[in-house]
Every structure is written in C-alpha cells, then in structure tokens.
C-alpha cells in the first residue's frame, strides 16, 4: 500500500515535471523561433545594405567618374612624353 502510494506519487511528480518540461520546451521553441526570425531579418537587412553599398561603390569607382574628378577637381593630366622616366628592373 505504502509502496504503491509512493509509486503513484513519484509517477504524479514525474507527470507534473514532464508537463512543465513540455511547457518550457514549447516556450523555449517559440522564443527561439522569434529570435530566429529577428536574426533572419537582421541578416537580410545586412545583405541588403551590403548590396546597396556594392552598388554605390561601383558607381563611385566608375572609371569615367574617377577620371572626371581627377581632371576637373584635382587638375590632373597624363604627363608629356618628356616627363616620363622608364625604370628598368636591375
């Protein structure tokens, strides 16, 4: 009798524990899912930002853009023949 009661109590305790476990796991999984969603959004945001930066960089580094900057703003030009020295490898 006593032994059966103990078994039942243990079983009851186990049931309660596992119930709590399920609840906890469920909660944990939802939390993790939300976290995943946030991180995925963050990742997408970063990728989007990166591709925008790539596009911007491509535009800024565009050869004709650089050339016009060099010529007009910095007053650069291709040196005359007489000003070029060719250095040979020793």
């Amino acid at each position: 009798m006593n032994a059966r009661l103990i078994v039942i109590l243990i079983a009851l305790a186990a049931v309660i524990c596992s119930t709590l476990g399920v609840v906890y796991a469920r909660h944990e999984s939802r939390r993790a899912a939300v976290q995943l969603g946030l991180l995925e959004d963050q990742r997408d945001e970063i990728i989007a930002e990166w591709s925008r930066l790539q596009l911007e960089q491509a535009w800024l580094a565009d050869a004709s853009h650089v050339e016009s900057k060099a010529r007009e703003h910095l007053g650069m030009e291709i040196p005359e023949q007489a000003l070029i020295l060719v250095v040979e490898k020793p």
Partner: protein, 569 residues
C-alpha cells in the same frame, strides 16, 4: 471486513465516475450541437484565424563580378505588394489610400480585384521603391501584404549589358550570361511551414521544410575598367562616323580570356524599355565578311607550302587581275612587290596570285585550323559559327576572294581568337568569358611561320603601312586593316565595314584587339581611317591600365640599381 470494504468501494466509485463522464459527454454534445447548428460563425472564424501555410523563402541570385571582383550584377531585396481580394473587397474604403500611395486610380484597382474576387492572391505591384513599401506598411490594411523579392541591378548599365544580359521579373535569365549560367546563379528557394492569423501575421514558425540555398557568384574574365574604356571610345567612334553598329573585343593573348567585349547600339538593362536592335551581342552573334584582315591567314597558308617566303617577289602590275571573268583590283598599281609588302600595302592582286597557287584543301585547312567556320565555344547564347564553305565546292574565283576576306563570314570574336594565335606563335586558345575555364592551347601554325607573319603585320603600322593610325606611343604595334563592301541583295552595295585587328606589344604580345565598325556614313570608310584610331586609343588606355611595360621607348631609360624587389619608390 476490510476485504468487504475494498470490494464495495470500487463499485460506488465506478458509478460515480460514470455519472461524471456522462455529464461531461452531454455537455460536449450540447456544445457541439450549439456550434454546428446555432452558432456556426464561431468555428468558421476560428478556423480561418489560424491556418497552417507553407510559404516560399525567397533566395538570392548570385552576383556577377568582373575579374577583379567588381560587381557587374547585384541582387538586392525589395518589397512587392500583393492583396487578398476576398479580404480587401470587404472594406472598400481601404482601396483609396492604397491607390494614393501607389499613384494609381482607385477604381482601376477595384475593377482588377473584382475580376479576381475568387482568388486569394493577386500581385498589385512588383518591386516597389523602398519609400512606397514603407508607406504601404504604415497603412496597416487588412488583406494587403508585402512580399520580399530580389531585384537585379547592373551598376555598369549599358557598358556590360551585352555580355551579362538580364533577367525577367521572376529572376530568370533571359539573355547573355544571365541565361547561359542561369542554373549556377539561381539559388533554390526554401519552404517553411508557418501558422498565420487572419491578418497574415506569422504566429508560429512550425518547421523549415526545405532550407533555401543562395545562388553562386559568377566571376567573369572581363575587366570593368577596360570594358568602360572600350565602350566609351566605340560609342564616340560610331557617333563620329555615323555608323550603324560596331564592336570591339579585347583578348588576353596568353590565356584567351576576354578582357572587354562591347557593342553599339546597346541598351540599359536596368530599365525594361529595350529596343530589340540593341539586344544582340554582335561580337559573338553577328557575322560579317572581314575583308583584308583575312590576308595574314592566306599568307600563313602560303608560307606553310614552303614555296613562298616573306621575300618571294610578286608582280602586281597593272594593279588588276582577271579571274574567271571577274576583275580583282588594287587601290593603285603597286608594281613588283614581295609577300611582306602584300600585307603592308594590302594588295588584293598579290593575295589573289598567292591563293590561286595554293591547293584549295590546304587553304581551307589553314582557315579551319584557325577556327573560322567553327563556334568559338564560349557557350554564349546565340553564338554564331560563321561561314566557311567546304573546299570541294570552291570555284576558282571564290578561292581568290577568300584570300582577301570575301566569301567567308566571321564573328569579331573569331577574328580575335585567330589573331591571338598569330600573336602567340601559332597557339590557338578558345576564348573564355568566365574565370576558371581551362583552355589548353592547340598548336595550329608552325612557330617560325607565325613569327614571320607577325613581323609582316608590324610593317602595317610602319611608315608605309595602311594602319599608321593604329600606332600606340612607346609600343610596337602589329595589325591589319580591313575594309569590306557589304553584300546586299543586288550584289555589293556602296556600304562598307571598316575593321582593324592587331596585337601589342609586338616584341611579346599581351593583348589582341579587334575593332569592327559597320556602315560608317560620314564619308570615311577605310579601316585605316575609321577603325585603326579606335584601336589605338583603346590599346593606349589598356596598356596603361594593365601596366604592360613599353617595348619601343624613346625617352630616358634609367637602371634601378639597388632597389629591392617589391620596395616602392
């Protein structure tokens, strides 16, 4: 006694429990009847409120990069808006603000949705501007949803459009390398199972059914700087001479890699309004009769017989020759010349005399080895093989015209491939557009003969040559001019194709370039006047950008004594 109690208790307990269960089931049945018959809306609402859905997880298409990793095609996420007409039509007042944000007529939207009122998914507008998407988001309308999609941007626009091509609204390649490498670039969209509420918000992420796989990046052999340069100069030349179209191709002699490939007319792949005339990558898809740029190959064929050497004399007097009733003439009477001068002066008469001395099969074989009449094997959509008729069907006059580039059709890329082989001692490499391709060289010409032909080509930019305008300061240049009349339905019209094919630096060729200008209408049409200057400007820039040391420097040369390798300044 205790035995009696233990026997009796379960029976009374049993009835007790039976009663409780009975009451429970009566309650359940009553509720079920209530829900099914009396309060039917409740269940329907609840059912619709939570539903399990499988949604596609969009994936990114791989980027296309140039040989230095500069982006040429980039996918970036944008929002598209879709509606559920069933829901939205229930609150028609919501259509007005939505239409205002999109800048369209509200009645128009309503009509479209009414036509599709039985559907649950209708695209309203794809690829929104980020600001518009944010405005729609802030309206928080029922039945209106934003879906993330990727839009393709081409930062170099019309400069690279022919090589790269473009994708359609569903991100599938339609032209160019976007089409050829679609499977490689395209990712595999994933699938996830979620529970959504009636407003379309995700309540719970149940499971990932299929992980999305992003597409692979594609690295091209194109150098964006050279591509820009070639495009700008080609456009300028085509405008200046009022030409119908034009192409420039630049190859790396030592690897067969295409460094630049541009055409006019072109189009901007970032806009959808495209004119079909500008879509073709003419350098690969269009063929033309090359004219005199073919002479080096006829000469190479002659040298192979051993009967001809660079100094074998040919008498071109009186400047014309009659072959089977056809008269072939030179620009003027060059008198007695030799094989080298044939190339320098571009003599049709001398080329004819050489061709008629050759076995048709041998001449055909030489042309065939250089890749004429064969696809270049880049895998580019719409690639043309050109036309080189079999020698068994050659007539005598045809054999003569083949020596100076008529009766044969080639693409600009084929010509570049063949000239690269002349430049690299007879080693032919299949041109490639994508990095990592292995194209082992095939020996198509004896190195000695290749060097002899290359030396003849250098005289073309010499003091007496036809290609003086192709000269590049501080470098030795080899090449050949070409001017061909365009064939039309009624024989050869007075319309021309000006071309120049050549390589630099002559002492150790690194770059080969082919320029083709179709139908210049500004009065000038000679290859030496229209195409050669373009070759010169493109090569001048390319040699500087690629740091190729000059081989014909007349200024001061100093020895760098005591400078450690790698140490700057």
């Amino acid at each position: 006694m205790s035995q009696e109690r233990t026997y009796m208790a379960p029976v009374s307990r049993l009835y007790g429990f039976l009663l409780i269960f009975l009451l429970c089931s009566i309650a359940l049945v009553a509720r079920a009847v209530n829900l099914q018959i009396v309060d039917t809306e409740f269940l329907q609402d609840q059912g619709e409120a939570r539903y399990l859905r499988e949604v596609v997880v969009p994936t990114r298409r791989g980027n296309i990069l140039d040989r230095n990793g500069e982006p040429l095609a980039v996918s970036t996420p944008v929002d598209s808006v879709w509606v559920n007409p069933k829901v939205l039509l229930q609150s028609p007042g919501d259509i007005e603000p939505l239409a205002n944000v999109l800048g369209v007529d509200a009645d128009e939207i309503e009509r479209r949705l009414t036509q599709r009122s039985t559907r649950e998914f209708v695209w309203l507008r794809r690829r929104l501007h980020p600001d518009v998407a944010a405005q729609i988001e802030s309206l928080k309308l029922h039945g209106v949803f934003l879906q993330k999609e990727y839009r393709r941007f081409y930062p170099a626009g019309e400069v690279t459009s022919h090589v790269i091509g473009f994708t359609n609204i569903d991100d599938i390649g339609q032209e160019g390398l976007e089409l050829a490498y679609n499977d490689w670039l395209q990712g595999k969209p994933g699938l996830k199972r979620i529970i959504r509420d009636r407003r379309g918000r995700t309540i719970e992420h149940v499971e990932m059914v299929k992980e999305s796989v992003p597409g692979h990046d594609l690295s091209l052999t194109i150098d964006r700087r050279l591509q820009y340069l070639a495009y700008r100069e080609l456009k300028r030349t085509v405008l200046k001479h009022g030409a119908r179209s034009g192409s420039v191709v630049l190859l790396d002699v030592k690897s067969g890699e295409v460094l630049a490939m541009v055409n006019q007319p072109s189009y901007n792949p970032n806009h959808s309004d495209m004119d079909s005339e500008g879509l073709r990558n003419r350098a690969i898809t269009d063929v033309f009769e090359p004219g005199s740029v073919m002479k080096p190959f006829a000469v190479a064929s002659a040298l192979e017989t051993g009967r001809w050497t660079p100094t074998t004399p040919i008498d071109t007097t009186p400047g014309t020759i009659n072959v089977s009733g056809h008269t072939i003439s030179d620009h003027r009477n060059y008198g007695p010349i030799d094989v080298t001068r044939l190339i320098t002066k571009s003599s049709n008469v001398a080329a004819t005399k050489i061709a008629l001395d050759l076995e048709p099969e041998h001449m055909w074989n030489t042309y065939d080895r250089f890749g004429f009449g064969d696809v270049t094997g880049t895998g580019f959509p719409g690639e043309s093989a050109g036309v080189l008729r079999n020698h068994r069907r050659w007539r005598r006059v045809e054999q003569a015209t083949l020596a100076y580039g008529y009766g044969i059709s080639v693409t600009v890329l084929q010509l570049a491939e063949a000239f690269a082989a002349l430049a690299d001692e007879g080693r032919l490499r299949r041109p490639s557009l994508v990095m990592g391709a292995t194209n082992p060289p095939a020996s198509v010409l004896d190195p000695t003969i290749a060097r002899q032909v290359a030396a003849m080509l250098e005289t073309v930019t010499g003091p007496e040559g036809t290609g003086k305008n192709a000269r590049v300061e501080n470098y030795r240049v080899s090449g050949k001019t070409g001017t061909s009349r365009k064939a039309s339905a009624s024989g050869y019209a007075s319309r021309y194709i000006a071309s120049f094919a050549g390589f630099v630096p002559s002492s150790d060729p690194e770059l080969v370039g082919v320029v083709m200008i179709n139908d210049p209408s500004g009065g000038q049409y000679y290859g030496g006047l229209v195409a050669a200057p373009l070759f010169s400007t493109v090569m001048t820039g390319a040699l500087r950008l690629l740091d190729i040391p000059p081989d014909n420097y007349e200024g001061m040369i100093v020895k760098a004594a005591g400078v450690s390798p790698g140490g700057g300044q």
